[in-house]
């Protein structure tokens, strides 16, 4: 049985290799994944995260104007926008990563190799964006992306003024 499994692994691997080497690549890899990704360079679209991830208008609709249905629709729309914004960010980053090498004669003065540092930044970004996408898809755009540890019973500093007031209140009630 194990022999058959290993033989299947070997055959599947060879088929995969031949498939990879034969299949031509699309001209623009971003065309299929996220065609709405803005071109990198200007960077102004990055500021869109502020209104997308800001919950104040949904809260205003729900709490002050008492439109819970409208607030719910707005939240759903914002969630969709947040996912698209994160995907666009990822696509733009991938486009940046695909920047081809500049030959040394074209780039005078760039003698330092930042290879490992750049790889670290690339992997860090990939991890963070995947995590953020997961959190937004599951909990929505207004949820804290880093989990809150408020449920952990940590010893808190007591405010001496509050303590004094509480003691005075307890004496008064007696």
């Amino acid at each position: 049985m194990t022999t058959i499994i290993y033989a299947a692994i070997a055959i599947a691997f060879l088929i995969m290799v031949i498939g990879f080497l034969r299949k031509p690549l699309p001209d623009d890899p971003d065309e299929t994944s996220a065609g709405y990704a803005p071109k990198i360079g200007s960077g102004r679209w990055l500021d869109l995260s502020e209104p997308i991830f800001n919950p104040s208008d949904a809260r205003w609709l729900e709490d002050e104007l008492a439109f819970p249905k409208l607030a719910s629709d707005l939240r759903l729309e914002r969630k969709r926008l947040a996912i698209r914004w994160l995907q666009a960010l990822q696509a733009s980053f991938d486009e940046l990563v695909r920047t081809p090498e500049i030959v040394p004669s074209e780039a005078p003065g760039s003698t330092v190799d930042h290879g490992w540092q750049m790889l670290g930044l690339t992997l860090r970004f990939k991890f963070l964006v995947s995590y953020a996408l997961f959190m937004v898809k599951v909990f929505g755009p207004y949820h804290r992306l880093i989990p809150s540890f408020s449920w952990v019973p940590l010893p808190q500093k007591e405010d001496p003024n509050l303590r004094r007031a509480a003691m005075a209140g307890s004496r008064g009630s007696n």
């Binding site: 194990t2 022999t3 290993y6 033989a7 692994i9 070997a10 055959i11 691997f13 060879l14 995969m16 290799v17 031949i18 990879f20 080497l21 690549l25 699309p26 890899p29 990198i40 360079g41 960077g43 990055l46 995260s49 991830f53 960010l89 733009s92 980053f93 991938d94 486009e95 940046l96 990563v97 695909r98 920047t99 081809p100 090498e101 500049i102 074209e106 780039a107 003065g109 760039s110 330092v112 190799d113 930042h114 290879g115 490992w116 540092q117 750049m118 790889l119 930044l121 690339t122 860090r124 970004f125 963070l128 964006v129 995590y131 953020a132 804290r144 992306l145 880093i146």
Partner: protein, 204 residues
């Protein structure tokens, strides 16, 4: 090895194990060489191939290969299993390199593609051969194993010879670099800017 076997049969055993250990090291060296060349044209992920190779090899060496040497009862089976699992590890590394190259839309040059194809054929045949040798009795499969190992090696060398006969440089992408003329420092700055933007969002 055939010559050693023919001329000095008593030295064959020690020569075989020496060859066996050297070949495993050389195979990993080939893997490192392939991984270094795949992402060579993209400075941001130039070391991704080596990082993947080292990380996957180290993880599987500790969790998948080492236990078989420590806990297998029969020495023959332990050595066969060791070679088999080392080959499976190399296949996993190659598959990860293929997937990463595909993800970044890299066009693999003829030379590197040939290196990968030849090595993949060698590893695929090796896995099937070692698994069969482990499953069947040596009296039944020993003769076939004796022929199959050099056959896999010769096939690999044949593909490498064809692929590397004429040097063909790796095709470059037609993308215009947004940081052209400013070197890798600008690219590192751009990567940092993206990371900072995302960190700001996550820390909020």
């Amino acid at each position: 090895m055939y010559l050693v076997y023919g001329f000095d049969r008593s030295a064959y055993r020690s020569a075989y194990w020496f060859y066996f250990l050297i070949s495993i090291l050389v195979e990993f060296a080939v893997l490192v060489e392939i991984s270094d060349h795949i992402f060579q044209s993209l400075p941001a992920i130039r070391h991704l191939g080596r990082a993947l190779t080292v990380a996957i090899s180290a993880t599987l060496a500790l969790t998948y290969i080492l236990p078989v040497i420590l806990w297998e009862q029969s020495r023959r089976l332990a050595l066969l299993d060791f070679a088999l699992r080392a080959s499976v590890t190399k296949v996993i590394v190659l598959a990860a390199l293929f997937i990463a190259a595909r993800h970044y839309g890299l066009q693999i040059g003829k030379s590197v593609a040939g290196l990968m194809l030849g090595f993949s054929i060698y590893l695929g045949l090796n896995i099937a051969n070692l698994a069969a040798n482990k499953a069947f009795h040596p009296a039944l499969y020993g003769g076939i194993y004796w022929i199959m190992t050099p056959t896999a090696y010769s096939l690999c060398l044949l593909v490498w010879t064809v692929a590397l006969w004429d040097y063909v440089p790796a095709p470059s992408r037609s993308t215009i670099s947004p940081v052209a003329g400013e070197g890798s420092e600008s690219l590192a700055l751009e990567l940092t800017r993206f990371n900072n933007q995302l960190s700001k969002l996550i820390d909020k």
